[in-house]
C-alpha cells in the first residue's frame, strides 16, 4: 500500500465558508424573504436584491458514492459546484438566476431524481439504521421509509396538505431519529422480555451496570449462576439491558412489531412543541412492504386531510377535536395499551366530565 499522509488530530470539521455558493456568501445574514415557486423550488431574495434559487430532491439517505458523484457532477455543471443536504435527508442545488432553474430541473429529472419536499407536504422521512446496520433494530427503517414514501410520494412532488406532515421511523425504542416529536412516527417495539444467556452474561457483562440499566428494577443478581434474573411481570421490553449486556438478546421475529405515535411537533408556531402520542400499539412486522403499516399511516393521514383546518399540524388538529374524537375519525381502536401506566401517567387521566361522545 502506498505511503499514508500524516494524520492530524483535533482539527474539527472543514470551515463551512469554503462551501458556500458566492451569492450565499455575499448575502449571508442579509436575506429579506423567500417564496415557494413549486413544491420543489424556492427563491430567497436579499436586501441587496440578489436572489438564490434552490431546487430540492429526495434521497433515501443511504447513498452510494456512485450517486454522490452524480450529484457532484450535476452541481458542478449547473450550480458552480455547490450543493447542500437538509436535516431530512434531501439534497439542495443552488442557482443564481431563474433562467438556470429549468435546465437544472430537467437534468435532475432525467437522472431519476425526485424533485419536491418544499412547503406544506411530506418532506421525506427521517429514520434510523435498521437491519442495514444496527444491532438493536426491531424492524428495518430504510424499507419502511421506502414503502411509505412510495405510497405518499405525491405529497412530496405536488399535492399540498393543511401544513407539513413530518413522518419519522425509529427501528427500536432507542429512537436515534428522535421520532418522539413527529406528526406521525413509527417505532419498532418488542413484546417479549430478553432471554438470558447465563454463560455469556458471566463472561461478557458487568452485572452491576446491567442491573442499573433497567428502568423498572426488573433485573436482579443470580449469584448461583454469576448471572442475572428478570422479574418478568416488571419488564416493559425496552431493551436497555441489551444495550449494556449483549448476552440478553430481546429480538423476537414473531412478536416484534411496529407502534405508531402521532401529533408531535418541534416548531413553536402557534402552539408549543408537542410529544407524539400512541395511536396504534402494535402492527405486524411484515417485510418487504409492510402493508398493515402503510395502510395505517394512510388512514391517519386521510383523517387529518379530512379534518384539519389550513395551517393546523396533526397535533393541533387532534388537540382541537380531542383525542377521543381522533380515534373515531381515524377509525382506530382504543386499547388498554393506550392508557399510560408509566412516567407521565397522572397527567394523561381525563380530569373533567366534559368530553365528546364517540361511537
Amino acid at each position: 500500500m502506498s505511503e499514508l499522509p500524516q494524520r492530524q488530530t483535533d482539527i474539527g470539521p472543514p470551515h463551512y465558508e469554503q462551501f458556500l455558493h458566492p451569492v450565499i456568501k455575499k448575502n449571508y445574514g442579509k436575506w429579506k424573504y423567500h417564496e415557494i415557486l413549486t413544491p420543489g423550488s424556492m427563491v430567497h431574495v436579499s436586501d441587496t436584491g440578489d436572489k438564490i434559487y434552490t431546487v430540492r430532491v429526495a434521497s433515501p439517505r443511504l447513498l452510494s458514492t456512485d450517486t454522490l458523484r452524480v450529484m457532484a457532477d450535476i452541481a458542478a455543471k449547473h450550480c458552480d459546484g455547490y450543493l447542500r443536504f437538509t436535516t431530512r435527508n434531501n439534497v439542495e442545488f443552488f442557482v443564481d438566476a431563474e433562467s438556470k432553474l429549468a435546465p437544472l430541473m430537467s437534468e435532475l429529472k432525467a437522472k431519476g431524481f425526485m424533485i419536491g419536499g418544499i412547503g406544506p407536504g411530506i418532506s421525506n422521512i427521517v429514520h434510523t439504521q435498521g437491519w442495514v446496520h444496527c444491532h438493536s433494530a426491531a424492524t428495518d427503517a430504510s424499507g419502511l421509509v421506502k414503502v411509505i414514501m412510495d405510497e405518499l410520494h405525491e405529497y412530496f412532488t405536488e399535492k399540498q396538505l393543511a401544513n407539513r406532515v413530518r413522518i419519522a421511523v425509529a427501528c427500536c425504542v432507542n429512537m436515534c431519529g428522535a421520532v418522539h416529536c413527529s406528526d406521525i412516527a413509527l417505532v419498532g417495539v418488542h413484546k417479549t422480555p430478553p432471554r438470558i444467556d447465563d454463560t455469556n452474561v458471566k463472561n461478557s457483562c458487568e452485572i452491576p451496570s446491567t442491573i442499573a440499566s433497567c428502568p423498572t428494577s426488573a433485573i436482579s443478581p443470580d449469584p448461583a449462576k454469576k448471572s442475572v434474573k428478570i422479574k418478568l411481570e416488571k419488564c416493559m421490553y425496552c431493551g436497555n439491558c441489551y444495550s449494556v449486556c449483549p448476552a440478553m438478546p430481546i429480538a423476537d421475529p414473531i412478536n416484534d412489531g411496529i407502534a405508531i405515535v402521532v401529533g408531535g411537533k418541534v416548531a413553536n408556531l402557534r402552539s408549543a412543541p408537542m410529544f407524539s402520542k400512541l395511536a396504534i400499539p402494535w402492527l405486524p412486522n411484515n417485510p418487504p412492504r409492510w402493508p398493515e403499516v402503510t395502510n395505517a399511516v394512510k388512514q391517519i393521514l386521510n383523517a387529518y386531510i379530512a379534518g384539519a383546518k389550513k395551517h393546523e399540524r396533526v397535533g393541533e388538529w387532534i388537540k382541537r377535536i380531542g383525542w377521543e374524537k381522533f380515534f373515531q375519525e381515524a377509525n382506530l381502536e382504543f386499547k388498554i395499551q393506550h392508557v399510560d401506566d408509566f412516567t407521565f401517567a397522572r397527567e394523561t387521566f381525563r380530569t373533567t366530565a366534559a368530553f365528546k361522545w364517540t361511537t
Binding site: 458487568e206 452491576p208 451496570s209 440499566s213 444495550s243 449494556v244 449486556c245 449483549p246
Partner: protein, 72 residues
C-alpha cells in the same frame, strides 16, 4: 509527581479494576487526583499520553470507559 510515575499509577488502577468494574475517564481523574493530591488536569495529561501511545484505550460498550487493549 513525576509524569512517568503518574502514568504507572493510572495504568495500575485500570489493571486492578479489569474484570471487576470498568472505569470511566472521570472515575480515574477523580480517584487519582484525590489519592495523590494533584490537579485533575495533570492526571488527564498523563492519561492522554497513555491513550495516545495505545497503552490504554477507550472502549464504548454500554458507556465510554478506559481499558487495557485486548491482546491481538
Amino acid at each position: 509527581m513525576d509524569k512517568e510515575e503518574l502514568k504507572k499509577v493510572i495504568y495500575d488502577l485500570v489493571e486492578a479494576s479489569t474484570g471487576k468494574k470498568k472505569l470511566k475517564q472521570t472515575d480515574i481523574l477523580k480517584k487519582v487526583s484525590a489519592d495523590k493530591g494533584i490537579e485533575k488536569d495533570e492526571v488527564k495529561a498523563a492519561l492522554r499520553e497513555l491513550v495516545d501511545a495505545g497503552t490504554l484505550i477507550f472502549t464504548y460498550f454500554g458507556g465510554s470507559y478506559i481499558e487495557i487493549p485486548p491482546k491481538a
